[in-house]
């Protein structure tokens, strides 16, 4: 494709225009980091005054990165990248695909990096020897007999010329991935109480919009683990995916380890203690005579404090009569306990610490935990693979552009009177100093090839 006819289009597809856009993007991005983003309008009023806030809102500076002008800059950058690439890639392909066996011998003689030899062998054995030396040095060589001259050509890294364009296209792919994500995906949030389940989630920044899930998500347990110094060590939720009441997936998620199912990913995002609700787990162990093995039955219930609860055929009744503060806000708990075997009694338990109550023929292991709801960030992003593809391509492109070069070398063998004149010449589009060494190395290889009987001239 060619845009050269129109000077305006020409400008918009030029690197010059990119050099104009990038500083604007820099300034725009800086503004967005200085002015607090996405705050309620009152915050701006307080900070900048009424008049300034109006200006701020008109310019969209409270939501800089989603403002019209910032998006416009990004769109222009994309168009510029696309046009620039479309303009130049065909030319680059021409260079890559060029028939280098057509090279002009006079030009080879004039090239900056060249070595001249003369030899007394015949052209046939020179041909074999040259091919062999280049093959040993890992150059894939082609040759053509142009009548009076036999020309060899070999190249490496021709495709590296596309490196810069691979990077540019990767940027377009990343932005395309972001667009796919924002149009066909969503970000949502849901609070699921322990022991509870949900079939819908709530659109982020718009809690009125419910998004139905194609399955049921249940949370069995939410837990926080603390370090000795009281800092949180781990937030985790045991999640279960159910379809038609059948458990399909069972996974414990943590902050850096989400659950993905059917295109949706659930991230551990926050939690909330549910006011006045507690998880009570109790195991009753009966010791049968002659058999010391304890047989237990475990049950888990969610209860409110200051209410009597019955357990297992009304044999056991209990009530959390007092709840305390343990530094994380939960426990210790004082419970009233009655199992018809003795006098009802009070016990004190710490949060998440099992307590064993011995009562005649049975023992009870009781554990009380604050009941939580786990806060899950729910993300559907069908564009993320494009973004990752873009990331990969960007790295590949940068590597090609910065660390690879297109190196070409020619060897011509020409019969002049009784002797052969051999020219070794080459060029590299980058790192010429390194290439001069490569060429020197090949020259030495040729000189060392005894059958060639070369002399450097």
């Amino acid at each position: 494709m060619k845009f050269k006819e129109n000077p305006i289009v020409d400008y918009f597809s030029s690197v010059r225009f990119a050099l104009f856009l990038l500083p604007l993007l820099v300034v725009g991005s800086i503004v967005g980091t200085i002015i607090p983003q996405d705050q309620p309008i009152g915050v701006y009023f307080e900070k900048y005054g009424q008049a300034n806030t109006v200006i701020l809102e008109i310019l969209g500076l409270s939501k800089t990165y989603s403002s019209i002008w910032f998006k416009a800059l990004l769109v222009l950058l994309c168009l510029n990248l696309a046009a620039c690439s479309l303009n130049r890639i065909p030319q680059v392909f021409k260079v890559i695909k060029k028939d280098n066996l057509n090279a002009d011998i006079a030009k080879l003689k004039r090239s900056k990096d060249k070595v001249l030899f003369s030899s007394n062998t015949d052209i046939k054995s020179a041909e074999t020897a040259v091919s062999e030396v280049l093959r040993q040095k890992n150059w894939l060589v082609r040759s053509r007999d142009n009548g009076d001259v036999l020309l060899f050509f070999a190249e490496k890294g021709a495709w590296s010329r596309l490196g810069a364009y691979v990077v540019h296209i990767s940027i377009l792919i990343i932005i395309l991935g972001a667009l796919v994500g924002s149009y066909f995906g969503f970000k949502a949030f849901v609070l699921v109480p322990e022991g509870g389940a949900t079939t819908e989630v709530y659109q982020k920044n718009d809690e009125q919009t419910k998004i139905p899930l194609p399955f049921t998500l249940r949370c069995d347990v939410f837990g926080i683990e603390y370090y000795a110094n009281g800092m949180p060590k781990e937030y985790r939720s045991d999640l279960v995916v159910l379809e038609k009441d059948k458990e399909i997936v069972n996974k414990r998620i943590t902050v850096n380890d989400p659950l993905t199912y059917s295109g949706l990913t659930f991230y551990q995002s926050s939690y909330q203690p549910i006011q006045n609700q507690y998880t009570v787990e109790m195991t009753k162990k009966t010791v049968t005579k002659g058999n010391n093995q304890a047989r237990g039955s475990k049950q888990k219930v969610y209860v409110e404090a200051r209410e009597k609860h019955a357990w297992q055929d009304n044999q056991v009744r209990f009530e959390i009569v007092e709840t305390g503060e343990d530094g994380h806000g939960h426990g210790p708990y004082k419970i009233w306990f009655d199992d018809e075997m003795g006098v009802p009694a009070h016990f004190v338990l710490e949060d998440q610490k099992p307590l064993i109550i011995e009562r005649g023929g049975a023992s009870y292991e009781i554990m009380i935990t604050q009941r939580f709801a786990t806060g899950l960030q729910v993300v559907k992003d069908p564009g993320v693979w494009l973004v990752y593809l873009g990331f990969g391509l960007m790295l590949l492109g940068l590597y090609m552009a910065f660390f690879m070069s297109h190196r070409r070398l020619w060897i011509s063998i020409q019969k002049k009177e009784a002797a052969l004149t051999i020219i070794l010449a080459g060029s590299s589009n980058k790192y010429e100093a390194g290439f001069t060494k490569t060429l020197e190395d090949i020259a030495t290889g040729l000189l060392n090839e005894k059958s060639l009987k070369l002399r450097r001239i």
């Binding site: 991005s29 800086i30 980091t33 983003q37 970000k187 949180p232 551990q268």
Partner: protein
Amino acid sequence: MDSALFSGYTTFIYLAATFFYVALTIFRIERLGLFATALTIIGVLANGIGIGLRWVESYQLGIGYIPLTNMYESLVFFAWTIAIVYLAIEHIHKTKYLGIYVVPFAFLAMAYASFSTEFSKDIKPLLPALQSNWLAAHVITCFIGYAAFTIACGLAILYLVKRGSGEVLQENSRAPEAERPSLAQLDSIIYKMIVFGFLWLTVGIITGAVWANSAWGTYWSWDPKETWSLITWFIYALALHARYTRGWDGTRMAWSALVGFVSVVFTYYGVNFILSGLHSYGG
């Protein structure tokens, strides 16, 4: 022997190395250069041992993690990277006259880490968000990039000093050892450092994005640290494109390296202490 002690040693070794590089530049006695290089190598070893010990100490405290998680640890790693990359340059270009403009940065980073009271030096357990295999990849790649940009900045200062004293950029010129490198060589090293840094910064931003996506489900949220890393990326991209298409070399490239470095410092330091956001735990 603990890591803090080694950090202290490292600071003074880099300072001593700096003195020798200064002395070399003033007196032009080759032996001074040998001392300077030797001290820098010892500094790198001490620095590395300090990092290793801190790693071990964190395991002894039962919270083991790679020591790259807060301002203090990152500064120590930053100094280490600067010194290592510098030694590589000194080895490749066979000149010791660049050290005076680079090694002080390693010293300053260590001194700031050792003596600042703005941030804690304690080994604290890792918050849940930081417990990820991406942590090491993200921090290491970013700081290799930062170190390369820092060196580019140091050499850019040298370039501007030499240029200011009347030297002229001539292509492929080579200078005698005492005046090495020539402006052309300096320009080439600055350019290579920017390219090197740009590549690593890109990997750093990408690993950060992938990590953010695996922890929060968003690979980009325009938080100030992310935005500033992108600003830095834009600035160097701009400099590179200007070089390729507008022939920006020499003085203009040197100024680009300085502007880019200001952006790096803001990305690294300014965002943590002036702005606030997701990376607030970095302080």
